[in-house]
Symmetry: C2
Subunit: 345 residues, 2 copies
DNA sequence: TTTTGATTTTGTAGCGCTACAATGGCAGAG
DNA sequence: CTCTGCCATTGTAGCGCTACAAAATCAAAA
């Protein structure tokens, strides 16, 4: 059963050194500064290390050097594809810089706090968060320890650094699009969950833009989940119960928008004739569902890539002039909002 | 700008001890063995620690004790909700046991190998993998280092420990269901990607079961992605191009099945009348899409929970009798396969 | 041959923490 | 008043690695 597991004691740098007939420092240099070690010696060390299955003890290296090649990322959810490209971007950037990326999922502020503690306990080189709403302690801690931190998916006013796009601008752009498509009675579905940072800008922006058009902006419903199809039907129910008959709805995510589409199917409402539906996030489902969803495209990959670049820059002591980056967004116009509406007033 | 970042040197156990007027060991004990420290002293130490924002250096503790409270989990993708419940289960079990869970995404064997190296470098208490196909080096390494490893989503023959359900049994159950619903010409959509461990059992099981029914099993197409809606249309195209007219299709994931549903919509095919569609995974979309999807429900949460329990048991030196656990599965029968077919032969 | 300068290799010390053994203090028993 | 036993607290040593400086090696120059 347990045979051949753990028989030879742990493989340390020391044991590799002895086996290769060199000093421990030479082994260390072989991995950290290969150019300092002669070709021949290096080859031998690498061979022996591979044979013994030696993996440098990052904990010890970290302790001795005060440096780390690991970056921590806290993401709020993996329930849908929202963060897929973001994580890909982070991974690629980390790999390019010779760093490793490890993740933690935290769907509440409290969990986010715990995740930050874990990462700081691990003495990571830096970390990335999503949103700009954190527990008070978190901000303190991050400031005190001075770890490089990037807040992603938000725009401006960073704890340390930030990368993202303006949700307000995107909201305005979407309202502009819906109005240009002839919609007047636009419903807004918001999100009232805990880690809401990247949602909070949207409602005020929506209300203001609607007012600028002289339209009534008070058609809104705050869902308690942003990631579920179920939220779509609930939101549509709630909006209808508010009395005014809407001809368009702006959803917090494509998933919620898809949920609205499903609910429209159940009610026999034609989209976009009866109701125009706009999503957010440009998930894969947006271009596959029928009708295809108009949505906000957030450049998630570049956001992730930039986030890690910024962490690496700061962590390697480079002076960072750009404390914030704007990765922009796009409005992807598709069938779910395209046609002029049938009058519903 | 940079004011108040990193001004006071790093907060170590030593500085906390000095500030609290005790020896470093007392601080250490306060955190590790609170019962060894007098109430009064402990309170003071905790206060000072909180005030200074002290977070124990896990790297140092790990080095000194040779123990770790961090468990690493490698998951193949977060592109869809497949692993959401699995990760939740792992997180809950880790929290219950006083451990921390960190994740890495690895969508190929090569990336999985890198992730394993990183985790071993970090000297985690144990780790979980998905599937049972790994690079040869990975198996060697894991055996040599003796870290507790659980392979999840698979059934039997573990590297160390395993938890999951039998994909073969689930495949057979699904074929039984389709045949019972009157289907004769069943197409199979497989997956030919890199980290295919938990898919490979399915095709042989499908073929065998079909033969047992005296049905032709050779309607199959191996998609290069298991996570995309796009794979659904491609797969349906491919199956049709193979000549035989199918009246049912068994997909590797609910996402692919949803893609098939979308493609059926484009073609004007009625589901389930013209084609019965079966998914796999019981994703949220399965119960929201119209028609609702028949699918395999894999008890992902329990799988994650068990995986971490097993890691913790082994890591805390308990003798582990159960090296494998079967968390079972269910067949969720819904509208996408419910009705008897219109004859298509 | 000796000297110089560059290159390669090797000690030394210590990172922050914990296991372990040893210390000190303090009650009650003798 | 001393002794025993028990608890709370404190040194000591060392985990595996790296920064730094010192030492060894060697080729070419003097």
């Amino acid at each position: 059963m347990t045979k051949s597991r753990d028989m030879a004691g742990p493989v340390t740098m020391h044991s590799v050194a002895k086996a290769a007939g060199v000093s421990p420092m030479t082994v260390s240099n072989t991995f950290k500064y290969p150019e300092r070690v002669q070709e021949e010696t290096r080859r031998r060390v690498c061979e022996v290390a591979a044979e013994l299955g030696y993996i440098p003890n990052h904990a010890a290296g970290n302790l001795a050097s005060g440096q780390s090649r690991v970056i921590g990322a806290v993401i709020p959810s993996i329930k849908n594809s929202s963060f897929y490209k973001y994580v890909r971007g982070m991974q690629d950037a980390a790999a390019q810089g010779g760093y490793e990326l490890v993740l933690q999922i935290a769907d509440t502020k409290r969990h986010e706090m715990a995740a930050i503690r874990t990462f700081i306990g691990l003495r990571v080189a830096g970390l990335t968060l999503v949103g700009n709403e954190h527990e008070d302690q978190a901000a303190d801690l991050l400031r005190k320890t001075g770890v490089p931190v990037v807040e992603a998916w938000v725009h401006g006013d960073p704890l340390d650094m930030a990368v993202g796009y303006s949700s307000a601008a995107a909201t305005r752009a979407m309202v502009d699009h819906l109005v240009a498509a002839g919609r007047q009675h636009i419903g807004f579905v918001g999100y009232a969950g805990d880690v809401a940072g990247r949602y909070t800008e949207r409602l005020p922006a929506f209300e203001q833009r609607m007012r600028e058009y002289g339209l009534e902006p008070h058609l809104c419903h705050l869902a308690d989940e942003a990631d579920g199809f179920g939220a779509g039907s609930k939101a549509l129910d709630a909006l209808c119960r508010m009395g005014a008959s809407i001809d368009a709805v702006l959803c917090p995510t494509d998933i919620v928008a898809a949920g609205v589409l499903f609910e429209c199917g159940r009610r026999g409402w034609k989209v976009p004739e009866r109701l125009a539906v706009a999503g957010w996030g440009d998930y894969e489902i947006a271009s596959e569902i029928s009708p295809q969803l108009t949505t906000i495209q957030p450049n998630a990959y570049e956001m992730g890539h930039s986030a890690i670049e910024m962490v690496i820059a700061r962590s390697s002591g480079l002076s960072v002039q750009m404390r914030t980056r704007d990765t922009g967004f796009g409005v992807v116009e598709r069938a779910s909002t395209r046609l002029a509406p049938i009058g519903v007033d």
